[in-house]
Symmetry: C2
Subunit: 390 residues, 2 copies
């Protein structure tokens, strides 16, 4: 066995630990601090001046846990810039463009799809993401869903089977038949590569009963459950997710009082995807209302070529603060501990001894700069497992 290797990130002006028992406020901030990472895990968090085999000088900058992006669709080919441009010129978003990406993805060979995923992961890593969930959902047949998940699993443990993303055109008018396929043969082929199951519960995608069938089949097969819901209007998504015990319900753009109450009374995380609301010109959700009710919230990128083609969690933070009535501290929590909760992980999203040694060093003295300096690439250095280290 090789000797342990240790790395100290020293001279940290402001360290966000997310452990309120060791530092200031809900983010557990330590000033003039150091973090020691040994063999990939945090070994020490405390005053600057710690020693280790290797040293990185943060030069007084802010350091925070690497971002946990709990919702992406990275396995795809092609882009939909033209659809985006048409939408910005007034054409409404209805999710129908998913079929364009499905055609492109099916037609692309596995090595090229894998190369595209690697490029996107590299981009996400440079933008500070160190834990990422990746969904299928652009295969929409047995072989291509399983293939998408097999590719995703090369890069992350957080893989999600989303066969119920949209009805493929070959099943037009036969949605129940397609759902049967998703729940049987497609699930069987995908299950070895998936940790989670997901469905898109929305007018134009799948209804409550179809989504319930998918979630129940996934759970019976040993997968964790998550759901897309309430993106384009109110609907049964949130309450179905809570009823089924999903780890997370994602979008939550349109919520009734009953939805907010259901979230607050559950362990289901409300995951907001503000970059999707940005790029589809949806109204922004009022996160304040959900937080104040007592629900746990996360923010994720939803990186995909149709409704949210960004890997930038910093951009999502800035939008959440400007538009969703979140404080900067809440937005930081939502992209770290919130994302971890949405994936039911307790080893990421915080920097405490024993946690994963995933962190970002900012080109800024304070985490406030992630909202205060919108559009500026403030991630100076990412330490974590995705992509190559920057």
């Amino acid at each position: 066995m090789a000797l342990a290797h240790s790395l100290v990130v020293d001279n940290i002006g402001s360290l966000i630990t997310n452990d309120p028992t060791v530092g200031e406020g809900p983010l557990g901030i330590l000033r003039n601090a150091a973090v020691v990472i040994t063999d990939g895990d945090v070994e020490f968090v405390g005053p600057a001046g710690a020693t280790a085999d290797e040293r990185i000088d943060a030069e007084g900058a802010c350091v925070l846990p690497g971002f946990v992006d709990s919702h992406t669709h990275l396995v795809f080919a092609g882009d939909r810039a033209e659809e985006f441009t048409a939408r910005m010129a007034g054409q409404p978003y209805d999710g129908g463009g998913i079929r364009v990406t499905t055609d492109a993805t099916r037609a692309t060979d596995t090595s090229e799809l894998d190369r595209l995923v690697r490029l996107r992961l590299h981009e996400a890593h440079w933008a500070g993401t160190t834990t990422i969930e990746i969904k299928s959902g652009y295969g929409l047949n047995v072989a291509d869903e399983a293939r998408s998940l097999e590719i995703a699993k090369r890069h992350t443990t957080e893989t999600t089977f989303l066969g119920a993303h949209l009805l493929p055109s070959e099943y037009e008018g036969r949605a129940d038949d397609y759902i049967d396929l998703v729940c049987t043969e497609m699930l069987d082929a995908s299950r070895p590569h998936a940790k989670w199951i997901d469905a898109f519960c929305e007018t134009g995608a799948f209804d409550e009963e179809q989504c319930r069938a998918v979630l129940e089949a996934g759970e019976a097969a040993g997968l964790g459950m998550r759901l897309h819901g309430n993106q384009l209007g109110t609907g049964p998504g949130v309450q179905l997710a809570v009823e089924c015990g999903c780890a997370s319900v994602d979008h939550c753009t349109h919520l009734t009082d009953g939805d907010v109450d259901a979230l607050a009374g559950s362990d289901t995380v409300a995951t907001f995807l503000p970059a999707a609301d940005f790029s589809t010109r949806q109204p922004y959700p009022d996160a304040r209302r959900v937080i104040d009710a007592g629900a746990t919230v996360a923010i994720a990128s939803n990186c995909n070529p149709g409704s949210s083609y960004t890997t930038s969690m910093s951009f999502c933070i800035a939008i959440a603060v400007r538009e969703m009535r979140m404080t900067i501290d809440e937005a930081i929590q939502a992209v770290t501990t919130g994302g971890a909760a949405a994936l039911q992980r307790d080893d990421v999203g915080h920097l405490s001894p024993g946690a994963a040694g995933h962190l970002v060093i900012l080109d800024a003295p304070s985490h406030h700069h992630l909202a205060y300096r919108p559009g500026v690439p403030l991630i100076r250095h990412t330490i974590g497992p995705l992509g190559s280290e920057s």
Copy 2:
């Protein structure tokens, strides 16, 4: 005299020339193109395969003119992250924080201020900006205004004397006395380092007559005129700027029908500063209305520590498209030819033989990606005079 040095940027998938006589549409787009730059100026624009002393392969990416950022306040010390955070929590913006930056700037020595400007220029360069205007306005006394402009002039020809930015606290209750100082001794000391004069025409800053006095004094001293107006509410700014023949009136967040008519009937450019509207939570201006009326529009970053601490013109483009009813093509024009018009420059903002050889190579096949991929740093390579070449 040294031999001419030539550089070809070859294998460009999509080249935005901004010359509609040579390519498709208003952006004059050429496909599969090359640009040759000789001794800093564009020598050739045409089909891929051109030769030169040095070659950069754009690998099919989009290339466009470097951004012209016609409105920044880069000469300052300190930051105002706490003011930003308080504002996001509900405190309104009234511009009063300018005094905080004035105190910090006056207290900082010249070499440190110059270092800070260089860092910000480097950041702007990496974000694709190749022509930049820099204002004074955080000195607010004779020596510090002149010093700020002396620093700015080391880095750009587009320097603007903004002594009338806000009333310094030592002149509380004596605004007319301060304006007298601005128009005489401060102008005399600043004029050698300035190309433009500017004033902040807004409730809480200076009124119409005070701003008119400043503009007239500047013009008499040989400076070009520009004006801040209509940021926080409607007011006399736009009409004063048009009446005086200003090159540009900047902010234009709140416009009456009369303001729009005045802009449309003039050569004064309407410069929008969407990142300031973002960071002060102002409503976004309706650029569509101004463009459709026939006015020339620009977009600039307004980089400053109070209301808009970003150098990212890409961010400004994305916000303009999402929020201001501009098409992507119009937003691209606004940050290139629009910025050039606001500075009365015809050598930048386009790529035609004889123009400055300032361009950016994107990590994307199309300029649409600047709005389609918000928050993602898409500037792969900037060729231009600001900062060191990336």
